[in-house]
């Protein structure tokens, strides 16, 4: 038995083998729990489900009007109806725009002409945040970003609204 040719000792071999087997066992044990924990991150978003908000497109004018509707929200095993609100108007380019009413400052609800002192503006009562008609925040008031907009489309003359996304003119 020539020891010089043995470049791995019995002890090393056993060490490697046991480490390898142990590693496989640990991985086998952990893979399912970890995958289970991160499942919400990897689940593909169901993609914007559009909901009929009960407003005929022909009724949308250049004056923002408030629409309220409900969507079926699925939270894992819990399904519920959630109320949603939007301010809808037709802008100067004759496009329909639906703003989320959630103030970009601290999340209160803004109202169109919600304060008599600020006509033609959205007003947030919490900290006097204001937005122009096109949703852009008035400089010098608390909010730092324009109002979010709903994805929207028209089906059979009715307005359908989907996901909320950031304002593009930001």
């Amino acid at each position: 038995m020539s020891d010089e040719k043995r470049d791995i000792s019995r002890r090393q071999f056993l060490n490697y083998t046991l480490t390898g087997v142990g590693g496989f066992m640990a991985a086998g044990l952990l893979i399912s729990p970890v995958r289970m924990a991160i499942d919400p991150v990897l689940k593909s978003g169901e993609g914007g489900d559009f909901a009929n908000v009960g407003l005929e497109v022909s009724e949308i004018t250049s004056d923002p009007q408030r629409v309220d509707w409900t969507v079926d929200q699925v939270d894992g095993w819990y399904e519920s109806e959630v109320n949603q609100t939007a301010w809808v108007y037709r802008n100067d380019d004759d496009e329909i725009v639906a703003f989320s009413p959630v103030c970009k400052h601290l999340g209160c609800f803004v109202s169109w002409e919600g304060n008599d002192d600020y006509p033609e503006e959205y007003f947030c009562p919490c900290h006097n945040g204001r937005y122009y008609k096109n949703g852009v925040n008035v400089p010098g008031t608390p909010p730092l970003q324009p109002l979010d907009v709903y994805e929207q489309e028209e089906r059979d003359g009715m307005l359908f609204l989907g996901n909320i996304r950031p304002h593009e003119e930001a």
Partner: protein
């Protein structure tokens, strides 16, 4: 009788040296408030641990009534607050203790910082301590949601939005914490419950063990 039981066990497994290693050690004069009253600052670490033990015990009993389900969570807390004898006290201990832990932890940190006790060779223990600090804050954050009232809900909303600000992984991190990309709901509550009751306490025990073993190994830092 007790002595006999002790002897019977000691006879077989020789526990006296184990016991000596754990409990029988010298407390240097400069950390003993009986010698120098100002040495009370050395108590903050022990007090933090003491309150942590209270948190664990009171929390164990709270889970006898609490359910992490959005339909029943608030009701179960309300029930134990109003209908269960002494449960108000136990929940009070857990509620106020959560703040006391953080206060004690900060005082302990300040003592170690201003005495320079974190310096070589104790840097490792400082790092472990910082990790313990994060785990405690995590316990506070996840525990805050569990009563499932308005304050809890919106505090979590804000906390999740803070997590979302992390560069690159923010959104994934938020989803991982909340269990859903947009909703703070049923899956958020079960997740926070699991994190609060199993994951973070597990991490805390491991870190505390390292913290204490390192103290015993390195001893308490010398007088100023």
């Amino acid at each position: 009788m007790l002595q006999k039981i002790y002897d019977w066990i000691d006879d077989r497994i020789d526990i006296t040296p184990i016991w000596r290693d754990i409990a029988d050690h010298e407390v240097p004069e400069h950390v003993n408030p009986a010698h120098h009253f100002s040495a009370f600052v050395y108590c903050f670490g022990g007090l933090t641990f003491f309150v942590v033990v209270i948190q664990i015990l009171s929390g164990m009993f709270l889970t006898m009534y609490y359910v992490p389900d959005i339909e029943n969570a608030w009701q179960s807390v309300y029930y134990l607050q109003t209908e269960v004898a002494h449960a108000q006290i136990v929940r009070g201990m857990h509620h106020w203790g959560a703040s006391v832990v953080v206060v004690m932890l900060l005082l302990h940190t300040l003592r170690v910082f201003f005495q320079g006790a974190y310096k070589k060779p104790r840097e490792l223990n400082w790092m472990v301590g910082v990790l313990i600090f994060f785990v405690i804050l995590g316990l506070g954050f996840t525990g805050y949601l569990l009563p499932w009232d308005n304050k809890a809900y919106f505090a979590t909303q804000v906390g999740l939005e803070i997590a979302e600000q992390v560069p690159f992984i923010g959104e994934a991190l938020k989803t991982l914490l909340a269990g859903d990309a947009t909703i703070v709901g049923a899956q958020t509550l079960t997740r926070f419950f699991a994190i609060h009751v199993f994951f973070l306490p597990g991490a805390l025990f491991a870190l505390l063990a390292i913290h204490f073993i390192l103290i015993r190994r390195q001893g308490i830092s010398g007088p100023l």
